[in-house]
Symmetry: D2
Subunit: 339 residues, 4 copies
Amino acid sequence: MIHFALLGCGRIGRVHADSIDVHPRAELAWVYDPIESAASEVAERYGTTIAPVVDVAIDDPSVDAVVIASATPTHVDLLSRAVRAGKAVLCEKPIDLELARVDRCWTDIAALNPMVMLGFNRRFDPSFREVRDRVAAGGIGRLEQLTIVSRDPAPASRDYLAASGGLFRDMTIHDFDLARFFLGEVAEVYAMGSNLVADYIAELGDIDGAVVVMRGANGVLCQITNSRRSVFGYDQRLEAFGSAGMLSVGNQHPTSVRSSNATHTEAAPEYLNFFLDRYTPAYRAELDHLITAIEQGSQPSPGFADGREALALADAALESLQTGRTVPLGSPARRETEV
Amino acid sequence: MIHFALLGCGRIGRVHADSIDVHPRAELAWVYDPIESAASEVAERYGTTIAPVVDVAIDDPSVDAVVIASATPTHVDLLSRAVRAGKAVLCEKPIDLELARVDRCWTDIAALNPMVMLGFNRRFDPSFREVRDRVAAGGIGRLEQLTIVSRDPAPASRDYLAASGGLFRDMTIHDFDLARFFLGEVAEVYAMGSNLVADYIAELGDIDGAVVVMRGANGVLCQITNSRRSVFGYDQRLEAFGSAGMLSVGNQHPTSVRSSNATHTEAAPEYLNFFLDRYTPAYRAELDHLITAIEQGSQPSPGFADGREALALADAALESLQTGRTVPLGSPARRETEV
Amino acid sequence: MIHFALLGCGRIGRVHADSIDVHPRAELAWVYDPIESAASEVAERYGTTIAPVVDVAIDDPSVDAVVIASATPTHVDLLSRAVRAGKAVLCEKPIDLELARVDRCWTDIAALNPMVMLGFNRRFDPSFREVRDRVAAGGIGRLEQLTIVSRDPAPASRDYLAASGGLFRDMTIHDFDLARFFLGEVAEVYAMGSNLVADYIAELGDIDGAVVVMRGANGVLCQITNSRRSVFGYDQRLEAFGSAGMLSVGNQHPTSVRSSNATHTEAAPEYLNFFLDRYTPAYRAELDHLITAIEQGSQPSPGFADGREALALADAALESLQTGRTVPLGSPARRETEV
Amino acid sequence: MIHFALLGCGRIGRVHADSIDVHPRAELAWVYDPIESAASEVAERYGTTIAPVVDVAIDDPSVDAVVIASATPTHVDLLSRAVRAGKAVLCEKPIDLELARVDRCWTDIAALNPMVMLGFNRRFDPSFREVRDRVAAGGIGRLEQLTIVSRDPAPASRDYLAASGGLFRDMTIHDFDLARFFLGEVAEVYAMGSNLVADYIAELGDIDGAVVVMRGANGVLCQITNSRRSVFGYDQRLEAFGSAGMLSVGNQHPTSVRSSNATHTEAAPEYLNFFLDRYTPAYRAELDHLITAIEQGSQPSPGFADGREALALADAALESLQTGRTVPLGSPARRETEV
């Protein structure tokens, strides 16, 4: 039985609490949240204990793993403490909004050979994973073009967005990681953004829609389309196009009902509305992957470096947005500057 | 160049006129219709001549083939005359509403070894034909179950239906022939009908919906669903289910546009509205088949006997409707009674 | 918290054990199975106790409800005992293979006003239920035609089938109940069967494919297609056709991946393979319905009478198969004969 | 009746000959091709006359319109001659490979107020046009993102590609025009290309795959994906995403057959293989539009300026490819340099 401490009882923290609850080999030992009502709600629902301070949870010798689902600025500190306490860590994205801070964090903990998993849940979505496995097995010949569509149902609040690090670090970061899942390293990035959805996003200096183009080190062209609003629901699609075929992932519906009437035919119901619905199986598989890694003493994947690289891609996209130029990744010079 | 005389310039006559017009090796020599305005409209549109009486068209030595698209009661007489004049014939379904009359017609002309094609256009629909060819080639192993859905957009007028011979002889007859295209001979038939669409149909003693079940001589179970009204358009589908797979034909849309909004996703436009739209390619392929048969001196298919058998199935279905029993087909006794 | 005793730890028993396990307000108190290894496997997996004899489980005062998932011939006896012990019952279909025995069972327990739910899980499938609710709400105008396709991936073993009561009582019984979910009472039934799948089924005197036609007391025509084998997976579809539109339920896939290559386009993966996968949400919703009924003191639905009527439809279909005639249901005479 | 002279009897010339042939108000008066066998083949098939030199066709007073389907370098000269002879012109894309030459051509003929239509057939595809009309009518609220996928089944020969002007001027030019059909003017362009399909394309200094990003003057983000090879057939799709919904155009199949077997379900047949099949209705509607314009004395659309702007976009994309920068369009400075 793997014992977990959950730090952060907001929306995503509850997703993890639920995954732990239904997993036959996991137990939720502690929860912590600076907002007491959030902590107690989760504690009650899952029959577990509230930690008065995070260290009580982190330092409990019976705890095997710490899930970091707290506010982004707290991630690196909690991650370091959990690693130093000898715990496995599942850290929500992004590790931090500042790449330099991420790199310093790694410098601090690298020698401990930490077991850190990043919460890029989409790698565990059964559809994306099936496509990736079939691509890896040569099912479409050589992969040549990857297309990702990722649109949220509706923009988050101004407060949330103000602290989010912007579209690329908050939202596209999932797509950057999904791209890396197929491409491996990325050679160069370009981004064009737009403000068409909500004025308050522009006022924050952020964009609310974007098209990102990347070239993988393997030559694959990748294209990402983002929007903060999609009135027909969470729009999460992918196409892997290759020399011998194409595999695509479509959106998913709560039922298989189709409707025909005098105005249209074969209409499907709304899509699974948001990540809580669409990615429930992914979150559960993600947790299962970590549990298995802990049990077997292997490194989980995606790991810290994947979190770092997705953030680096977000930064590069931002630079491209500002300069209108293709931004190369991975050059030693660039890394030096950044780290 | 094959020269045609067209007898009957109503809705279906115009379909044939159009097919003849666009065929590179066909020419419309004569048109005839007792309603002069109908004849002149077609004559003008396709630049051809109106026959003052049908014999002028039928007996013209330059005419190779006669298309019979006139009112049903005139079919057998025109068919006999055209055959005796040595012409190939494309006769619209049904040959006649009375099976005995159909059989007498055949007795009259059989010795002439006539070239008669029946207008069962669905055999030439590219989708149905592809399924039939793949089934025949073993693409689904052994055919076990055949399902046909056939629903008209809206019921015809009371006057039309009063003279139609009823649902089975007027509408299901196409499905009976399509079933025979897959099953060969039919061993037994059962039918259940309903009156849910329009009162005036019940007043005519006719039904406006039906389910028909048949067993082929080859053991295949076949099921047909009919309705005189389908508000979402012409509903024309088929499923061939076999020991190694299934081939299905779905409805067809005028464009490949799909629409998603706040109330539904992936909605398709209305279906191709009626037989003029859905079966245009079928009608053209049907005519091309006849032309090729004439050119090559071969017998076109479906032929007179197919028209006879589809009508016999309609009669058997009607008997089943009245008795609530399975009706066997093809027994010598039955044939004797009928012929 | 509702405490359950589970009688029968075979395939379907385990489905219920799992539903109880994940339900937040249910607890599995006892399991029983004459095959000890089956009982102990379930007991270990869900951390519960094996009852040495059924009465220990049934009579335990802390037990609220009994799930009967044992062999069919044991159902009526266990049902009577559980009812007399004052327990709510979830009984798997069929109540019994013999209608007279079912009716005697009811005579025995009716005065106790028992809370009995029948395990017709499909009523709780989110897709079927959505269609039924939208139909009931007038979403397709007046319901006119109902089409059900139900094909198992592969036939069960000879031993299983020999004790199954035949296709109609074992397999179609689910479709009969689903039809009643939409039609209410059924006025008449017709059935045509076939033996195309496996010789050993014919040797048992059973059929392995069928088409059933029914007319609801409300005039709706209903058509069911069954096969014991579908190489492309569990084929579970429904179409509700009405005066103002159609709602259809398609098959369901484990992922939303589609594949295109040089030989085909947009190919979907296999369907959810069998009832354990396709109907997992339905089984859970079914159990939740019972729990809520117990908590609220209301009658669950479908109930005993629904189990009785589905069996009566199976018997009527069998009679039709043997006589080749439409069989009327629900006449007093018929009921007298049967009860 | 509108009389046409067809200059160029290659693949695309034959498409136009066919459209003229089936149009009820068009007649093909002359054909010309420097390759005599090509000219005589078309002349024979459509029963028309070969012009010994182009001027015979262009200067024939009975000719109303000239279709320019000859080699690209001949376009501007033939266009000028036809315009000076007072004819309407349907000119295939591109007008020329050199923007300066296009502008000089316009300078030469502008004063004649010529009736010139550009052969951007996709504007007349029923699906694309329906989407554009529904977008224009507010069907998806405000248009925010446009996604175009355009992949040819297989790359053309080395010889063809060597003279083609490169991917952007030869292939993407259709997508540039389709984008302008939705966006109006384009503000800026970015392109990333790849060489993954065929070595001989790289040897020509050309690319064989690309992703292009554009921003419309109206703020809409547009994204185009191209490849010279798609093993599953001609891949021609579009998505118009807006504040209130999305309209998408999928690929089209020759039949509506779907296949399920032990390895996959619902597989569709290959797509309509190439532009001759997919865009037949578009080519016919395009010609009809020109004929109607001639009859009504109105300007056809798309016109000369649309041909010019699509080429300018191709040039800008090429500049972006070479510089790795976003290239602004439409600035006076840029236009001065170019014109």
